[in-house]
């Protein structure tokens, strides 16, 4: 062995440090489409008629529910979207009262938010979930293995699972009516049917301008917050409200896109597999340096 063990460690450490420092810190890059479609939900307009739920059910050929869509007592209980309903409407009493001291309800439609930088798509082991140019976060069942990491990742707890299908379960969530929008130029089922125009469909940029306009032109009607403008880096579905969002079941979320930290770590460590290669080289070097210098079989002391 030409080099001493101590010198060898110096070389290895220096090599490792150089390899680390030589890599420029890669800034994380958003993969968000530039001009996606979106929907603006104006909660001050929604009357809780559940027509959007019905349209969604029909457009997506989902199983008929046990209770009809006309039955408004369904609203007595808070619901979450599930594998049989991609969108649900919930009723909240935020404390607002009318001139006869009656509580005024606020109705909140829930569905996939179609994030600009979706955590589910970043997490998906096979890339079965992907953000489309038109804004939709789409699911490709032919790739899916059913690991449910998308469900772990989603900050809105949206993707549902067909837990009772033993062999071919699917992840189920709002599709943004991708085919209707992309292929036949129609609106998403829910946006088309809404009788009070609570759901506005359009380019996300346009919708943001519409929302800001409404806030400006109707002083007192809205709080100055468009939910989804900045949350998790922005979502294709956005909400306007007269009440603070935390009173309506919306959780406060960071403005930072969810995949950012994990992707930054992942890419800075594993692009071109540089770190495993360096580690392999270092271990190989150590192995060579210690060859014949370790203890013998009959060494009674052992240890270091």
């Amino acid at each position: 062995m030409g080099i001493s063990r101590r010198n060898f460690f110096k070389i290895v450490t220096a090599a490792g440090a150089t390899a680390t420092a030589a890599r420029p810190a890669q800034a994380w890059q958003s993969h968000a489409p530039s001009a996606p479609y979106g929907c603006l939900v104006d909660l001050t307009r929604c009357i809780g008629c559940r027509k959007c739920e019905q349209a969604c059910n029909e457009v997506n050929h989902l199983p008929k529910p046990h209770r009809s869509f006309e039955d408004l007592t369904v609203l007595d209980r808070k619901r979450r979207p599930d594998e049989k309903a991609f969108t649900v409407v919930n009723r909240y009493y935020s404390g607002m009262i009318d001139d006869r001291d009656q509580l005024i309800p606020t109705f909140v439609k829930l569905q996939c938010m179609h994030c600009q930088d979706p955590a589910c798509a970043s997490a998906c082991i096979v890339g079965a979930l992907s953000k489309q140019e038109n804004g939709a976060v789409s699911y490709d069942v032919t790739k899916c293995i059913g690991c449910r990491y998308c469900m772990v990742a989603c900050p809105f707890e949206i993707p549902a699972y067909e837990y009772h299908d033993p062999i071919t379960p699917r992840v189920m969530k709002c599709t943004f009516c991708y085919e209707r929008v992309a292929e036949s130029g129609q609106l998403p089922g829910c946006a088309e049917v809404c009788p009070v125009e609570a759901i506005t469909f359009g380019r996300r940029e346009t919708l943001l301008n519409v929302a800001k306009e409404r806030i400006k032109k109707n002083p007192g009607r809205y709080i100055d917050h468009i939910y989804g403008e900045n949350e998790v880096g922005g979502t294709s579905w956005m909400y306007l409200s007269s009440q603070p969002f935390d009173k309506l079941g919306f959780v406060p979320l960071p403005d930072k896109p969810m995949p950012r930290l994990a992707e930054t770590i992942q890419h800075s460590l594993y692009s071109y597999l540089w770190s495993p290669i360096v580690l392999f080289g270092m271990l190989g070097g150590i192995m060579l340096a210690f060859k014949g210098k370790g203890d013998r079989h009959d060494d009674q002391k052992g240890g270091i």
């Binding site: 096979v126 293995i145 690991c147 772990v152 699972y161 033993p166 959780v251 930290l261």
Partner: protein
């Protein structure tokens, strides 16, 4: 101390083995129920709680507790400390079986078990899980390759299949010979590869949760979660070797291996110390200690994890008296193993709280039975393989005789 691995020469059908068989059979029956009625039929998993006991124990803990494989390989084969040779094969066998059962556990947990090969074709390099899956796949292959010499040593020149299979005897024998000859030349590649792959996916298992900052409790959610997973896996490697060596030598009435285990755990003082320092340092720097006394289930689980799973056993190991006592060493190492297991369970189950639905989760009977069945199956496979293959150290008397 001489090192002569040999098949274990004691009765296979003991009462313990019968109990393991019953547990494994119950697990198997429940797995069949899962493939008839679906995951929802046997588990309490929901939209908001998609990962539960199976991911926390069968997969995450399974991977962590198989760390004895790469940590002993590093010590004996890369640092050349051949003194520790006798614990290599048991650790290798445990790692091989551990990872095999991780994959079996995954097959039960994922919805489309038959599609498990799809990540090989559909790559998503931004997915942490993709990297974990690739590493686990390659590492399992490496482990099987590393185990081939053990099989070759036992059956080389002695392949004797019964009945019509006897036609294959000569082919198998020459295959074993060839593999043994080739592998002895290139084994170093697989040894290093095994360590590299282990470092990669042990850390990435922690990175899995970084995508869910709003769901994982702040006590565990930290940017250094991958480093904590890696350092705890490295730290738990030797305690796991002590844990199984003590269990094996006691139940099979073999010679105690304290002469190797005691010096081995001197490394653990150092390695577990690093993990403890990282864990406490992280808590201090992020200021999360303010949660420690709020009395919630998560906080209490965190306290148990760090006090009884890391701090106390670390302090115990500082004393040579503990390291030299078979009973106390086993106690300390069991606590470390339990601490890492609880850590993985905390990160994937206890500390996971979805803020929107605030859904709770407690494992169903079906989930518990399948997990216990998996563990029983692993122990049975271990017991079976050490009976037929030279893995454990033969008693001294027999060797000298």
């Amino acid at each position: 101390m001489s090192h002569h691995p040999a098949p274990v020469n004691s009765r296979f059908w003991t009462p313990g083995v019968v109990v393991l068989c019953i547990l494994a059979a119950a697990g198997l029956a429940t797995i069949i129920a899962r493939y008839i009625g679906g995951i929802g039929y046997v588990s309490n998993l929901t939209t908001a709680r998609p990962w539960g006991l199976w991911i926390g124990v069968d997969v995450a803990s399974g991977v962590a507790l198989a760390a004895g494989g790469f940590t002993t390989a590093f010590l004996a084969h890369i640092l050349g400390k051949h003194y520790y040779e006798p614990v290599i094969r048991p650790a290798l066998l445990t790692a091989m079986l551990g990872y095999t059962f991780v994959v079996l556990g995954l097959l039960v947990d994922i919805g489309r078990s038959w599609a498990i090969w799809k990540p090989m074709l559909n790559w998503n390099p931004s997915s942490v899980l993709f990297e974990v899956a690739m590493c686990v796949m390659f590492y399992l292959t490496v482990l099987y390759i590393e185990f081939i010499p053990v099989v070759a040593e036992r059956f080389k020149g002695r392949v004797n299949l019964p009945g019509f299979l006897s036609a294959l005897n000569r082919i198998l024998d020459s295959l074993l010979n060839l593999a043994d000859r080739v592998l002895s030349k290139i084994m170093w590649i697989f040894v290093i590869l095994g360590v590299v792959l282990s470092c990669m996916h042990q850390s990435s298992l922690g990175a899995l949760m970084l995508i869910a900052p709003t769901k994982l409790h702040t006590l565990w959610y930290t940017p250094i979660l991958p480093l904590l997973f890696l350092s705890s896996a490295i730290a738990v490697g030797y305690p796991m070797v002590v844990f199984e060596a003590t269990l094996a030598t006691t139940s099979l009435k073999l010679d105690s291996e304290m002469k190797i285990l005691t010096p081995l755990t001197r490394f653990t003082v150092f390695l577990l110390g690093i993990y403890l320092a990282l864990k406490v340092g992280d808590m201090v720097i992020r200021g999360t200690y303010v949660y420690l006394l709020d009395g919630t289930a998560q906080t209490n689980s965190f306290l148990i994890e760090i006090v009884f799973g890391v701090l106390v056993p670390w302090l115990m190991l500082l004393f040579p008296k503990v390291r030299n006592s078979r009973r106390w060493l086993f106690t300390a190492c069991t606590m470390i193993v339990g601490g890492v297991l609880l850590n993985r369970l905390n990160v994937f189950v206890v500390g996971y709280r979805p803020p929107v639905s605030e859904a709770n989760y407690f494992p169903s009977m079906g989930e518990v039975i399948i997990t216990m069945g998996m563990i029983a199956g692993l122990m049975l496979a271990y017991r079976f393989l050490i009976t037929y293959l030279p893995v454990l150290n033969a008693p001294e008397k027999e060797v000298t005789a």
